[in-house]
Symmetry: C2
Subunit: 256 residues, 2 copies
């Protein structure tokens, strides 16, 4: 099943995604079995981030080739960081590059686990059972800010820097897929989605030793490769078996 | 006015706090003017964190004496970090010290600004107008984890490490107050709340250059002094003109 949220008359509504249409739902599939209350066409839908997480977890260095390329030590345990909800934007919405950003402005294609139940002190098996489904994230990053600043506050969390979607796929072997990053239709990077140092379940086991995960929490799993993007580009992140998250890149001037 | 949230039959309900009683409200005062729908006694109320923020911002080194003591450079611009909602707990609820924590386990008494409107590219005056009210936070920290880990994920964000409350005070000159940290009734630290390198409005101006703040977002403002706490202690953070946030410290064993 594929679930997302769309904007209907300016309000967020959950939907179940079909081939042509999206069935609008009376509530969140994370909280029960909602009824169908309407339909919109996929062609005209305004896609929202499929979920707004209570906590937004993100993994840094987690792919061996990324770690080798960066020249950093391989993590010896799964340690997680955070991103911020203001930065979320949906499939089809623009990534806005701030005028002040200089140097490398990059896309990072990531698998995202969406938590489906309250979980603490999970076993590996409970960790598997705690994932409701999988979506796609683009961890857009302004490298000069990332290097200048003490935290990732603006380098990774400026408005529109975290496209997520287009939907949550509940029926996929997410770690057996391929992640592909394309700009204007040209493939810039492709890698096995599951070629991770620690997989999502390792992270869930480690996190929940000290932290309760809740329905709707998301865990972004890092990227093997990145590429530069610029205003005028359209950037697509595809994970086979899940879908394609596509966003145009706009200059800031359009939005002031 | 003082607003908070309390647990009523296991559900969170907004309330307006009076001398003896809490008037239960039909909705959030951040979203309009809710009606009074009931009353509970303050003496028996189960206090919740007064708000669950869309984004939980936190300031690090922000008091000159803290910076001097730590031997770090004074920040030359207001840079913000993040904490996580799972760690929030209400006035009166226990701070649980994990069995694995060794070394210094500390309380950090902080002023918290609660944002009341959607704001982007704020002037200093708009920043002042964007604050709905003020509450109190205790940024509980496990120092050994803080030094061992790449991020603050468990050192500052383990469950119960972020007491916040008891309420949001809307009518106070927050920066003209005194912050006092006490353990078992003994004062361990006291400092002028407003003796900051950058004040909350400086932060709001800087954050909103790149980021939209939303109603309910919170900004924890850092601490001048900290002190050790241990299971069996009761830790009180008082900010004059706002109130007292009091929490007992429990060992983990009580909660497994």
């Amino acid at each position: 099943m594929r679930y997302t949220r769309v904007s209907v008359d300016g309000r967020p509504v959950w939907g179940r995604v079909g081939e042509e249409d999206i069935s609008l739902l009376s509530g969140s599939p994370l909280e029960g079995e909602p009824d169908v209350i309407g339909t919109v066409s996929r062609a005209t839908a305004v896609w929202l981030p499929p979920v707004v997480p209570p906590v937004f977890y993100a993994v840094g260095f987690n792919y061996p080739r990324h770690i080798e390329h960066a020249g950093v030590p391989t993590p010896d345990r799964p340690e997680v960081g955070y991103r911020a909800n203001n930065a979320l934007t949906g499939h089809g919405s623009p990534i806005v590059k701030p005028d002040e950003v200089e140097g490398r402005f990059e896309a990072e294609p990531e698998l995202v686990a969406v938590i489906g139940r309250t979980v603490r002190r999970a076993t590996h098996e409970e960790a598997r059972g705690s994932v409701f489904g999988w979506t796609i994230g683009n961890d857009v990053s302004a490298r000069s800010w990332q290097h200048q600043d003490r935290t990732f506050w603006r380098s990774k969390n400026s408005d529109t820097f975290k496209p997520m979607g287009p939907w949550i796929e509940t029926d996929v072997e997410a770690l057996a897929q391929t992640t592909t990053l394309s700009v204007n239709g040209e493939v810039r990077a492709a890698f096995p989605t599951g070629d991770m140092v620690f997989d999502p379940f390792d992270y869930i086991v480690e996190i929940t030793r000290h932290i309760t995960l809740h329905p709707g929490d998301v865990l972004w799993m890092g990227a093997e490769s990145t590429c530069r993007i610029e205003p005028g580009d359209t950037v697509d992140v595809e994970i086979s078996g899940i879908g394609v998250l596509s966003n145009p890149v706009h200059p800031e001037g359009n939005h002031v």
